[in-house]
């Protein structure tokens, strides 16, 4: 479909503007930038999980031909300032995360020195010539080890590895559990996994000696956040630092939304050396130094009545914060995601965020939600099993109904507001999923196949996703002097199609064909304020900002044209790029003509009476609180009990992200997120040993899913517009990921039900299935 003037571009599944350059090899990713005279950097990283750095001898490295400089943390003492946690808590015990710590290291992969050389080849040669004298200290390789009495401390001299205890409470869970007719407990573990954007992190910088401006190219999801951090650390004015997230960034998925030591060191050494410096993380570095997520243990207890209705939920969570606290966003999201789409009159969630000697954790697509959904949805299945009820029925009985919105859950969301679901229709999502599955028939078929010895299982999972978080996101719209509409977003994209989507939104608000509109993103010099691309928030924050700024621009354009054409603004409409009086192209002004009058002007000559100078508008949209996307997943799997092999036979997704701007792009987000969820469900595991040494640091040990692992998906949408923004939109980036591990684990346990095997961890691998079957057989043996 071409970009023809449709009645409404919002809702149109048009092709993307980005694609032609990406398909012809003309994308502009960070490592593609031509920076004349640029040097290459490589970081020396800790090989110990926990150690004191006694000395670093870089003399030999400095002497290597082609090496321009070597800096240790001590050499750059002026920038060794803490990288503050993004989300704080008054009780947080915080240890400073320094850009390049001079004295001690707390995870394998922590940067301790940088080599700047004429090529990356030489820089890496030089790394091998640096001698580090470490004093190894005992390391913490899991949350279980972190909480073990008398165990090692992740930070020397600490009294506890607990960073903070977070809790959520509604009603009286303890009392309700004591009084309830039935209770069940479960213990579930979800392991670490990474973002694994195909493009790794990268930073390049140049200090302009004449303007004293630092220009930083950064693959960050949050350019304005990075600028703010650098401004504080360097003690420079924000206008003297320009962060540019290149127009093409090869995926983000959370880790690139964080702020890292490398982002502090590279621009600084570029300034010191008065030469451009580029650092592109290689995949080995990415495995040990890009933030990860997921490791949590949930000990959950549910109380319910004879019909399977929930009376109370009590969940104790151990969360792996990693070596430093980069922010408490993930654990806070976990605690508020536990109740999900269900009525839970009494709830208590307590989370211990634990320091370990592993790379710090932060958001990865899903961000604390998959773990909570895993625990809750596994328990819903266990309730069904215990009461001999259908798991779909138990879900139906507990779901919040479509007429209950806004629904106050009784606990607090991570944005600080009372957790309130804005809109949704959870029963429609579940029933729509079951219909497409032909649920009753599939259950009958499952029973039939079971008779024949095939182990088929059906797994369901329903979830809500808080998205579209504040505080705000902004957009500027300008009629350029060339007569085109320029939409400037603070937000930076990583493949989401911003250049297309935000032109669609602007097109509708302006009443102008998309051909006259173009979009630019992610450059702090173009728009002063912004937050960043994370938490499935941009459509629901930048979307309304673009819409409102474009509405204002329409008014400005009509006003200007009406003055020049001598009529009322209401008489003006656009035909192509012409603002026409009464639809007559003979009586019209082109966008270029409007720009010439109001923007370019004539030096020293007064503007025509009534014309306002400068056709530029801006809007910052600040949502009142998070919007809630939701969905239901169903998986049908077959398990081979001899090998533990899993085949996903069918997978259905019901999804609700409110108003859909571009259905193709939304489907792409959901299915892409789903593939990540399949990885979390069955494949991806960033394993560490008990000394906190990473055991999966290449794609030979860490399985990223390929086309043969990801099953086809049957996807449908319902649209319950959010009342929290004028477009009715919610987020779509993470919903595909969140419930997939739960749905797959539920299906596998269902398949194995005749054997009584328990699936308590994600990923569920063939080896774990065989173990679970053996464990069940042991339990079944009479004592």
């Amino acid at each position: 479909m071409s970009e023809v003037a449709a009645k409404s571009m919002i809702g149109a599944g048009i092709e993307r503007r980005e694609d032609d350059r990406l398909l012809t090899g003309h994308g502009r990713y960070l490592d593609d930038l031509e920076l004349p005279g640029a040097l290459s950097a490589a970081f020396l990283r800790s090989t110990y999980a926990h150690a004191n750095v006694l000395s670093i001898d870089a003399d030999a490295a400095r002497e290597l031909p082609g090496v321009v400089a070597v800096f240790t943390g001590e050499d750059l003492a002026e920038i060794q300032k803490p990288l503050a946690p993004k989300v704080m808590h008054p009780q947080l015990i915080d240890y400073p995360r320094l850009p390049m710590p001079p004295k001690a290291v707390h995870y394998v992969g922590e940067p301790i020195a940088i080599v700047v050389a004429e090529s990356r080849y030489v820089a890496e040669d030089a790394l091998e010539l640096i001698e580090v004298d470490y004093e190894e200290l005992p390391a913490v390789g899991s949350t279980a080890a972190a909480l073990r009495p008398g165990g090692p401390m992740a930070h020397e001299g600490a009294e506890t590895n607990v960073a903070v205890k977070l809790s959520q409470k509604a009603g009286d869970a303890d009392k309700a559990i004591r009084a309830a007719p039935h209770t069940l407990t479960g213990e579930f573990f979800v392991t670490r996994g990474g973002g694994h954007s195909m493009e790794t992190r990268a930073v390049a910088a140049r200090f302009d000696l004449t303007t004293e401006q630092l220009i930083v190219w950064d693959t960050t999801q949050s350019p304005h956040y990075a600028r703010q951090q650098l401004s504080v650390i360097y003690g420079m004015a924000e206008d003297d630092i320009r962060i540019i997230a290149p127009p093409d960034v090869g995926g983000g998925f959370g880790p690139k939304a964080q702020f890292y030591g490398e982002e502090v060191v590279i621009p600084w050494v570029a300034k010191l050396l008065e030469r451009p410096v580029k650092w592109v993380e290689d995949r080995s570095e990415n495995f040990v130094s890009a933030m990860m997520e997921r490791s949590q243990t949930h000990r959950i207890e549910v109380a319910f009545d004879d019909d399977g209705r929930l009376i109370a939920v009590r969940d104790f969570v151990e969360h792996d914060q990693g070596a430093y606290c980069a922010g408490l966003q993930v654990p806070s999201i976990t605690t508020s995601t536990v109740p999900g789409p269900y009525h839970v009159p009494n709830i208590y969630v307590e989370l211990l965020a634990c320091y370990t000697n592993m790379v710090p954790t932060s958001s990865v697509r899903g961000a604390g939600r998959p773990q909570a959904v895993f625990a809750m949805e596994r328990m819903i299945d266990r309730i069904a099993e215990y009461l001999d009820l259908d798991p779909a029925l138990v879900r139906e009985r507990n779901l919040i109904q479509a007429d209950e919105f806004p629904y106050e859950v009784g606990i607090t969301f991570r944005d600080g507001s009372p957790l309130t679901y804005d809109s949704g229709d959870f029963p429609a999502l579940l029933s729509g999923t079951l219909e497409r599955l032909e649920y009753a028939r599939t259950r009958a078929w499952q029973a039939e196949q079971r008779e024949r010895g095939r182990m088929i299982g059906i797994g369901l999972a329903v979830y809500v996703e808080g998205c579209g978080l504040g505080p705000y996101e902004g957009a500027k719209i300008r009629l350029t002097n060339k007569g085109r509409i320029l939409v400037t977003l603070a937000a930076a994209g990583q493949g989401q199609g911003y250049e297309t989507v935000y032109a669609q939104i602007a097109s509708d608000a302006l009443g102008l064909n998309m051909d006259h509109i173009y979009v630019t993103t992610g450059d702090t010099s173009k728009i002063p304020f912004g937050q960043g691309t994370f938490a499935s928030r941009i459509t629901a924050t930048a979307g309304p900002a673009v819409f409102q700024a474009a509405q204002q621009m329409r008014e400005r354009l009509l006003d200007t044209a009406s003055i020049l054409l001598g009529c009322h603004p209401a008489e003006i409409s656009f035909i192509g790029d012409r603002a026409c009086r009464d639809g007559d192209v003979e009586k019209s002004k082109t966008l270029l003509e409007l720009a010439q009058v109001a923007n370019v002007g004539k030096h020293g000559i007064t503007l025509p009476k009534g014309v306002q100078a400068g056709l530029e508008t801006s809007s910052y949209f600040a949502p009142a609180r998070a919007a809630y996307a939701s969905g239901a997943h169903a998986a049908v799997v077959e398990v081979d009990p001899d090998t533990g092999g899993i085949t996903v036979l069918r997978y259905i997704i019901g999804h609700d992200c409110g108003t859909v701007i571009n259905p193709r792009l939304v489907d792409g987000q959901v299915i892409g997120g789903f593939a990540h969820g399949i990885g979390n469900a069955m494949y991806e595991e960033a394993a560490y040993d008990s000394d906190a040494q990473p055991q999966a640091a290449s794609y030979l040990d860490y399985s990223l899913v390929s086309a043969t692992e990801v099953p086809s998906v049957e996807l449908f949408h319902i649209q319950t517009p959010s009342p929290l923004n004028p477009l009715g939109v919610k987020g779509a980036g993470e919903g595909g990921t969140i419930p997939a591990p739960a749905a797959i684990a539920n299906a596998i346990e269902d398949a194995l039900r005749p054997l009584g095997a328990r699936i308590n961890r994600a990923p569920v691998t063939p080896a774990r299935i065989v173990d679970a079957i053996q464990d069940a057989a042991v339990v079944d043996q009479p004592a």
């Binding site: 092709e15 993307r16 980005e18 694609d19 990406l22 398909l23 012809t24 090899g25 003309h26 994308g27 990713y29 490592d31 593609d32 031509e34 040097l39 290459s40 031909p65 082609g66 004429e118 090529s119 080849y121 030489v122 694994h196 954007s197 195909m198 493009e199 790794t200 093409d248 960034v249 090869g250 995926g251 592109v280 290689d282 995949r283 080995s284 990583q494 493949g495 989401q496 199609g497 193709r664 792009l665 489907d667 792409g668 299915i671 892409g672 997120g673 789903f674 593939a675 990540h676 290449s698 794609y699 030979l700 990223l704 390929s706 086309a707 043969t708 990801v710 086809s712 998906v713 595909g736």
Partner: protein, 166 residues
């Protein structure tokens, strides 16, 4: 990864290689990878490095008709060879049928892995049609995409196969 301007100690090797139809001669270091040669020397930056250990396939190019990982090959190894990269796929501003199928089926998001997929598939489609979903998934399975979940890629392969084999 800019190379040293002056070749330090290593004398280098003169290679002659045809890239997207034009023959080039360069003196290269022993250890310069084919990927870095294409990206840094020839400034053909459409070939991307995703893992540098031969798994993700983002750096896939075609050497003498076979799809190879340019991160695992040295520039000296392509002396006398014919190399095709993503930049050579489309003629005068027109997307070729495979590229069009990618666009139509939304087979890309961030686009970083895309050149590798295109080159893998270009080589595969020359060998014959890709008939069904299972075969398409098999052909795609040597490359990793983190964004799309592969649905659009599968459809793009099937569409392109129909188009090019018709």
């Amino acid at each position: 990864m800019r190379e040293p301007k002056v070749n330090i100690e290593a004398p280098g090797h003169l290679i002659s290689v045809t890239v997207n139809g034009s023959t080039r001669q360069h003196v290269v270091d022993d250890r310069l990878t084919l990927a870095d040669f294409l990206r840094e020397r020839l400034r053909l930056t459409g070939t991307h490095l995703g893992c540098e250990h031969g798994v993700c396939g983002a750096c896939t190019v075609i050497v003498d008709g076979a799809s190879v990982r340019s991160c695992l090959m040295l520039a000296v190894q392509v002396d006398g060879c014919d190399v095709e990269t993503v930049e050579g796929l489309s003629g005068e501003g027109e997307l070729n049928p495979l590229q069009q199928a990618f666009k139509k089926n939304y087979a890309l998001q961030c686009g970083f892995c895309t050149p590798g997929f295109l080159m893998t598939l270009t080589a595969a489609l020359r060998e014959g049609p890709i008939k069904d979903e299972a075969e398409a998934r098999d052909v795609l399975s040597g490359n990793i995409c983190r964004c799309t979940g592969y649905t659009g890629l599968v459809q793009a392969v099937l569409d392109a196969s129909k188009e090019t084999q018709a």
